[in-house]
C-alpha cells in the first residue's frame, strides 16, 4: 500500500508541479472526509511503533519527514484504519465485501459472530478430544480464516477473448489481488445463495470456512472446476497476447 501511495504522490507531484499547485495552500472551505485531496496534503501514519522511536535513533529521512509533517496539512484518516494490534487488512477487506448499503456495523457484527462460532466449535472439540489428538485441532479462528481463503484461491483464471468472430475462454495468470478477490467473492455468494432460509449468515459462513480449511465444501469445488476448465482449454492459451 505504501508503494502505490508513493507512486501516486510522485505522479501527482509531477502533475502538480506542472500546474503549479504544490505551494503552501489552505482551502477556503475546510474539507473533511473527502477522498480527493490537494496533493499538498500528506498521508496519515496510524502505526504506533513509528511514534515510539526516540529522537536519537531517527534516520535523516525520518527526521526530514517529521519536520515536513509539522508544517504540511494531513489527510483525515478513514474509519477503517486503526492503530489496534488486532487490526487485520485481509479481514477488513472481507468485511467491506460483505457490506451492503454501507452498513459496516452489521457486516462487522456478522464476521465477529462467525469468528466466535468457529472458535467455539473448535475449542469444544479440543476439550473433548483425547490428549494425543489435541495438537492437531486448530483453534485460532484467524488462522482458520486465512488458511481457508488460501485454499479457495484459484491459481489460474479464464478470460473471454474474441478471435475470428467467436469468443474463447482462454487461461490467463491472475494477480494476487484478483485471486484474493475471487476467493472472497465465491465464499460470500456461496453463503448467500446456498443456505436454508432459517440458517443465519454467520452459521453458514462458519460452516463453509471450516470446510474450506479442510479442503472440502462448495467453494473449493468451484475452484477445482475453474482449474479443470482452464486445463481443458489449454489449446487456446496462445490467444493471450500479454
Amino acid at each position: 500500500m505504501a508503494s502505490t501511495s508513493g507512486l501516486r504522490t510522485t505522479l501527482s507531484k509531477m502533475a502538480a508541479s506542472l500546474t503549479g499547485l504544490l505551494k503552501p495552500w489552505t482551502p477556503r472551505v475546510l474539507l473533511v472526509r473527502w477522498s480527493r485531496y490537494n496533493p499538498y496534503y500528506l498521508e496519515p501514519e496510524p502505526r504506533k511503533e513509528v511514534y515510539h522511536i526516540p529522537e536519537t535513533e531517527l534516520t535523516p529521512e525520518q527526521k526530514e519527514e517529521r519536520e515536513l509533517k509539522s508544517v504540511r496539512p494531513i489527510k483525515a484518516a478513514t474509519n477503517s484504519v486503526t492503530s489496534s494490534v488486532f487490526n487485520d487488512p485481509v479481514l477488513s477487506k472481507f468485511v467491506n465485501m460483505m457490506m451492503k448499503d454501507g452498513d459496516k456495523i452489521i457486516a462487522k457484527g456478522i464476521i465477529t459472530q462467525t469468528l466466535e462460532n468457529m472458535k467455539r466449535k473448535q475449542v469444544e472439540k479440543y476439550h473433548k478430544a483425547p490428549e494425543g489428538k489435541k495438537a492437531e485441532i486448530e483453534c485460532n479462528p484467524y488462522a482458520i480464516f486465512h488458511q481457508a481463503l488460501e485454499n479457495c484461491k484459484p491459481v489460474i483464471g479464464l478470460a473471454s477473448i474474441q478471435k475470428g468472430g467467436k469468443f474463447y475462454q482462454v487461461p490467463i495468470p491472475l494477480t494476487d489481488n484478483r485471486r484474493r478477490f475471487l476467493a472472497m467473492k465465491w465464499m460470500i455468494t456461496e453463503c448467500r445463495d446456498n443456505k436454508h432460509r432459517r440458517t443465519l449468515m454467520y452459521e453458514k459462513l462458519s460452516q463453509e470456512l471450516l470446510a474450506a480449511f479442510s479442503k472440502e465444501g462448495n467453494v473449493v469445488k468451484r475452484k477445482h472446476e475453474l482449474h479443470k476448465m482452464a486445463e481443458s482449454n489449454r489449446a487456446y492459451a496462445h490467444y493471450r497476447w500479454w
Binding site: 489496534s84 494490534v85 488486532f86 465477529t112 459472530q113 469468528l115 466466535e116 472458535k119 467455539r120 475449542v123 469444544e124 479440543y126 476439550h127 473433548k128 483425547p130 490428549e131 483453534c139 485460532n140 479462528p141 484467524y142 488462522a143
Partner: protein, 395 residues
C-alpha cells in the same frame, strides 16, 4: 511462563501438586460429560469447591461447580452466554467475588427467627449481578436450603402469548406457559423437599379436582405441571405453603427466594387486555403472589434480589441505582433492604479472568497473548466483565 511471572507478584508459588489419580481418571469421565481435571496448582483456580468454606483469600479465583450439582442447582437462572461458555469449556467455573462473599457471610450470621432480611444486588450493566446471585444460590443449595429461583421477573411481564383470565380472582390474569415452565424447573431443583413438605390446607381446583390436606408438595407441583390451565394458581399455593412452613420448628427448612430482575415486579408491563388497555403488574397472578413472597412478614429464610436494566421495560439504559430502577412503589415495598453493590473487575480479578481464558485456550489471537494486547483489552472493556467476555469471544 507468563503465569509464573504473575505468580511472583501475587503469591509464592509452591511445588506443583502431583495429580492424585493418573490421567486415566480424566479420560474415563470424559465419556460421561464434563471432566474432573487432575489437581494441579494454578493461580486463578481454587480447589475449594464448597461455597461454605470460601473466604477473602479465595477472592478473584475460580472454583468449579461439580458436574453432578450443575443440572439440579441451575436448570434455569444462568445468563445465556455463560451457559454457552460452560458448554464450550466443558466445565462450569465461577469467580469468587466480594459481593457474593459478603452475601454469604450475612446469610451465615443472620437470625432466622426474626422477619426475613432482603438483600439487593445492584450495579452497572454487565458487572456480574446475576453471577453473584447464582453463586449465592449454589451456597444455599449446598447448605440444604429450599431454593426458589426466579430466573428473570421481566419474563413474566412481557411477551406473553396466552393471557387467561384467572379462575380464582375475577380481575386477575393467569400466565399458564410461564407458570408451568417455572414449576418444572422448581421440581428439578428441589426434588428432595417435595416428598417431605406436607400441605396444611385443602385446595380445590375444579368441581372434580382438589388436593387434600396432608398431601406431599410434590403432588401439587406435578398437578401444576400437568394441568397447565391452573398452573398459576398452583404457583400461588406453593408459595403460600412454603411461606407458612419455612420457619417452623418441626422439620423446619430455610427458604431462599432468589429473584433476578426484581424491578420488573413494579412499574409497567407490555401486556394488553382484549380491549387494548394496558395490564398493570398487580393484575397478574404470578406477580401478585411473588410480591407477597418478597414482603418481610414471614421468617425462616432470606430474599436475595438483583436489579436488572437489560430486560426492563421503559427504563433508560443508563439507570442502575435502586431508586431509579425500582421506582417509588418498588422502593417502598423493598424498604428496608440491605444493598450490596457489585463493581467492575478489580486489577486482580481482571488478571484472573485473563489467565482463565488463556488456560481454556479461549484467547487465540497471537497478539491477545502479549502485554500490548492485554493493555488494549483493558482499555476497550474498562474491566467490565460482560464486555470483556464479548471481546475475548472473537479474539
Amino acid at each position: 511462563s507468563f503465569e509464573n511471572r504473575l505468580a511472583f507478584r501475587w503469591f509464592w508459588l509452591p511445588e506443583p501438586v502431583r495429580p492424585l489419580h493418573g490421567s486415566g481418571c480424566g479420560q474415563q469421565q470424559e465419556a460421561v460429560g464434563m471432566e474432573m481435571r487432575p489437581e494441579t496448582f494454578s493461580i486463578f483456580r481454587t480447589q475449594e469447591n464448597d461455597p461454605d468454606c470460601q473466604s477473602e483469600q479465595h477472592q478473584g479465583q475460580y472454583y468449579t461447580v461439580p458436574p453432578s450439582h450443575f443440572h439440579t442447582v441451575f436448570p434455569h437462572g444462568l445468563p445465556p452466554r455463560y451457559q454457552q461458555q460452560v458448554k464450550t469449556f466443558n466445565e462450569g467455573c465461577v469467580m469468587v467475588r466480594q459481593p457474593a462473599l459478603e452475601l454469604i457471610s450475612h446469610l451465615k450470621r443472620a437470625d432466622y427467627s426474626k422477619p426475613t432480611l432482603r438483600y439487593l444486588l445492584y450495579g452497572v450493566k454487565g458487572s456480574g449481578k446475576t453471577m453473584s446471585l447464582c453463586h449465592t444460590v449454589h451456597y444455599c443449595s449446598t447448605q440444604g436450603w429450599l431454593v426458589l429461583h426466579i430466573p428473570d421477573a421481566h419474563l413474566w411481564v412481557k411477551n406473553c402469548k396466552e393471557l387467561l383470565p384467572s379462575s380464582y380472582h375475577a380481575s386477575r390474569f393467569d400466565q399458564p406457559i410461564q407458570a408451568s415452565n417455572w414449576l418444572r424447573n422448581f421440581r428439578t431443583t428441589n426434588e428432595n423437599f417435595l416428598s417431605k413438605i406436607k400441605l396444611r390446607q385443602r385446595y380445590v381446583w375444579t368441581k372434580r379436582e382438589s388436593t387434600e390436606e396432608g398431601q406431599p408438595l410434590g403432588e401439587l407441583v406435578d398437578m401444576g405441571v400437568s394441568r397447565v390451565k391452573s398452573s398459576s394458581d398452583v404457583v400461588g399455593a406453593v408459595l403460600k405453603e412454603l411461606r407458612l412452613q419455612a420457619g417452623g420448628t418441626e422439620g423446619g427448612f430455610r427458604l431462599a427466594v432468589a429473584v433476578d430482575g426484581v424491578n420488573g415486579l413494579w412499574g409497567r408491563t407490555t401486556l394488553k387486555k382484549e380491549d387494548k388497555s394496558p395490564v398493570a403488574p398487580e393484575e397478574l397472578t404470578l406477580v401478585h403472589n411473588l410480591r407477597k413472597m418478597i414482603n418481610n412478614d414471614w421468617c425462616g429464610g432470606a430474599v436475595i434480589a438483583t436489579l436488572s436494566q437489560t430486560g426492563s421495560l421503559y427504563a433508560p439504559s443508563s439507570a442502575y441505582l435502586p431508586q431509579e430502577l425500582l421506582g417509588e412503589e418498588g422502593f417502598d415495598s423493598m424498604d428496608p433492604f440491605i444493598p450490596v453493590p457489585v463493581s467492575l473487575y478489580s486489577e486482580k480479578e481482571f488478571e484472573s479472568c485473563y489467565l482463565y481464558y488463556l488456560d481454556r485456550h479461549w484467547l487465540q489471537h497471537p497478539h491477545s497473548q502479549t502485554e500490548e494486547g492485554k493493555k488494549e483489552l483493558i482499555f476497550l472493556s474498562n474491566r467490565n466483565p460482560s464486555v470483556l467476555e464479548r471481546l475475548c469471544a472473537f479474539l
